[in-house]
């Protein structure tokens, strides 16, 4: 597909748990992400999937510079994003944008749609007012809004329309990467389709790279080129989307795909791998973190599994594939 746009290397982020008098003592750490590495190529859609608490959002927020990693780095076109300063930082903010899950929370209710869309541009780049206005109008039109809607406030739009405004305000800077954190899960079914179609069109037109965070595997399959599966702060499998759905290797990926609901009542399964719940990320199991729920757990699983390449572009961290 091209050169890597984003390289994530051994990323680790711990959140302290405070307690004691005046919350002055640190009682422990939540290991939100613990040694995550992957690359995203220019123009592709890379998806991170996993259950809540697996660290997919923390990873995305670290890439966005909303968190500072405790270990590891994030490279954008070869440069460490957490070391950027001055003009480089401004350039980063133009190059990396985000769309969040809840368009009711992510749009400032006191700003008009046009101002919201222009904000990132105005904050990071000096441009004549007329040009900003023209770009906003062009983008809103691309999103399917007539120009006069730029003067409306967020409450005057429906959920799907708001998410389109959020997308416009991410696109205004002509970003290289857009982080999409559950972009459709707050929307109604018939509206999700609009937004998903729009995302695919935008990518085709502008070659923007997407990092998609989603829990809905059907959406991921429809939108993503490659998928990374996360479990308790670690990446357990990474491969092309179709390969993942057709030929999942890690027992957790298999369980996750198995838990998908049937497409049709005739596909209802009587047998279901019962696998309990994920342990707490405050105190994850030693060795392979999935071993407490894994049907194939062996003695060797108390050791940390290395990530092995089992085929071109398909890697998995599991002792079943160690040899």
């Amino acid at each position: 597909m091209g050169q890597p746009l984003i390289e994530v290397e051994g990323l680790r982020k711990l959140f302290p748990i405070k307690g004691g008098p005046l919350n002055a003592r640190t009682l422990g750490h939540v290991r939100a992400i613990d040694g995550v590495s992957f690359t995203i190529d220019t123009g592709e859609t890379f998806a991170l999937v996993g259950e809540s608490g697996c660290g997919k959002t923390t990873t995305a927020r670290t890439i966005l510079r909303l968190y500072t990693p405790d270990e590891g780095r994030v490279l954008l076109e070869g440069r460490d994003v957490h070391a950027l300063t001055g003009d480089d930082l401004k350039a980063f903010r133009l190059a990396v944008q985000a769309v969040f899950q809840d368009p009711w929370a992510s749009l400032n209710p006191r700003m008009r749609a046009g101002t919201l869309v222009a904000e990132a541009l105005v904050a990071n780049q000096r441009l004549p007012k007329a040009e900003v206005k023209a770009r906003v109008a062009a983008l809103l039109e691309r999103m399917g809004f007539p120009a006069w809607k730029a003067d409306l406030f967020p409450y005057e739009f429906s959920g799907g329309q708001r998410q389109r405004i959020a997308l416009a305000s991410a696109l205004i800077t002509g970003p290289k990467l857009i982080v999409l954190d559950e972009p459709v899960s707050a929307l109604d079914l018939s509206v999700q389709a609009q937004v998903i179609n729009l995302l695919k069109d935008i990518q085709e037109e502008s070659q923007t790279t997407f990092l998609l965070i989603a829990h809905d595997l059907d959406t991921v399959r429809y939108v993503a080129d490659r998928v990374g599966v996360m479990y308790l702060g670690q990446l357990v499998e990474e491969t092309d989307t179709e390969e993942l759905f057709e030929n999942p290797k890690h027992p957790y990926t298999q369980a996750l795909l198995n838990s998908r609901l049937p497409l049709h009542p005739k596909d209802r399964r009587e047998e279901l791998q019962v696998m309990g719940e994920a342990p707490s990320p405050m105190n994850p199991p030693a060795g392979c973190r999935f071993r407490t729920r894994c049907p194939f757990a062996m003695d060797v699983c108390t050791e940390v599994p290395a990530r092995v390449q089992i085929a071109e572009g398909h890697s998995v961290a599991c002792h079943l594939y160690s040899e």
């Binding site: 259950e51 389709a193 179709e242 049709h264 696998m275």
Partner: protein, 344 residues
């Protein structure tokens, strides 16, 4: 609409007798913005041991329908404007509040979407389960109440029930809490169990386990279930029959496989086509143009007509009567015989 308009429902198919009959139920909310027709003429039968799914988008009235059945609609806005809900010889709409309290939780009970909000954070699980047992005078002694609370947790496969009874809700995971809520709803082995988006707050792996649990419970107790969801996957997993709801009314109702194979209302077809799951990765998703109508300001004629690609003049003028597609499958659409995707 009268009862005779509906096709006779084949009770034998699902094994059980009719346990709940809802006839032309109308529940409106009187708000300062006008009258919201949240439930506007809904009719269905529910048989022992079967699961009926009610599917629709947010704001279609599906939750208000569920709350109407247990008479927990928001006061003082809600008013029943007509219809009956017949359970065991009682018309739930006409009962006094006092009588309704004796039936709610005993013969008809409900599981809500968010277990976090169904449990009281300052009492233990045991406390709350025992309260549910005491309320209808179910046990003679404290000891028996305890035993029944423990048994109720075992019924929903909560591991180490004795220890769990002493837990507070915050000490349990979302999936475990939802199991406790299920145990509470099933304490009296009700005739009808309503589950309103029971798994929306849960992770996928937990969701699959919970839906399996509901099916197990039904198999063991023969309870008739109503599952409310916006997700066709949940419907496909749990239901025998499904009703599609739009703007306060049913637009299609039938055996779940028939509705999936042969959607006979443009809205049902639109919902199925807008999900990546049913479209395949190669095809483009189809979205339904426009937005559902305000329930305070409904369009004349068929409520879906302003968004419907097939709508003709009659669709904008009069409301469609139910039409039979096959034995058990009904649609409320004037164009049901000329749907372009239909297989007949």
């Amino acid at each position: 609409m009268t009862r005779s308009d509906l096709p006779s429902e084949n009770g034998g198919r699902h094994g059980g007798d009719v346990v709940l009959q809802v006839i032309d139920l109308r529940m409106y909310l009187h708000t300062r913005w006008g009258v919201t027709k949240a439930v506007d003429g809904v009719t269905f039968d529910l048989h022992a041991g079967e699961t009926l799914g009610i599917v629709g988008e947010s704001g279609c009235g599906k939750s208000m329908l569920a709350l109407s059945l247990v008479r927990l609609t928001p006061e003082p806005a809600s008013r029943f404007e007509g219809g009956q809900v017949l359970l065991d010889g009682d018309d739930l709409v006409a009962l006094t509040d006092k009588k309704m309290r004796r039936i709610r939780g005993k013969k008809i009970s409900m599981i809500l979407q968010d277990p976090q909000q169904s449990l009281n954070p300052v009492f233990t699980i045991g406390n709350q389960l025992e309260e549910a047992i005491r309320i209808h005078g179910g046990a003679d002694s404290k000891e028996e109440t305890k035993q029944r609370a423990k048994a109720a947790l075992q019924e929903v496969h909560v591991p180490e029930p004795e220890r769990r009874l002493k837990n507070y809700p915050h000490e349990m995971s979302g999936g475990m809490k939802q199991r406790v809520v299920g145990a509470m709803a099933m304490v009296y082995k009700p005739t009808v169990l309503i589950a309103d988006e029971p798994t929306t707050a849960l992770d996928v792996t937990i969701q699959a386990q919970y839906l399996r649990l509901l099916r197990d419970l039904q198999r063991r107790t023969g309870v008739a279930m109503i599952v409310i969801s916006h997700d066709f996957g949940v419907i496909a997993e749990t239901c025998d029959r499904v009703a599609v709801m739009y703007a306060g009314k049913f637009v299609e109702q039938g055996p779940v496989a028939d509705v999936f194979d042969n959607p006979s209302h443009p809205y049902t077809k639109g919902l199925l086509d807008s999900h990546p799951r049913y479209v395949g990765t190669a095809r483009r998703l189809r979205s339904i143009e426009g937005a559902p109508p305000e329930l305070t300001n409904l369009p004349p004629g068929c409520r879906f007509s302003p968004r419907c690609g097939l709508a003709g003049p009659e669709c904008h003028e009069s409301e469609p009567e139910p039409r039979q597609v096959s034995a058990d499958h009904v649609t409320w659409c004037f164009k049901s015989e000329e749907l372009p995707w239909a297989s007949h």
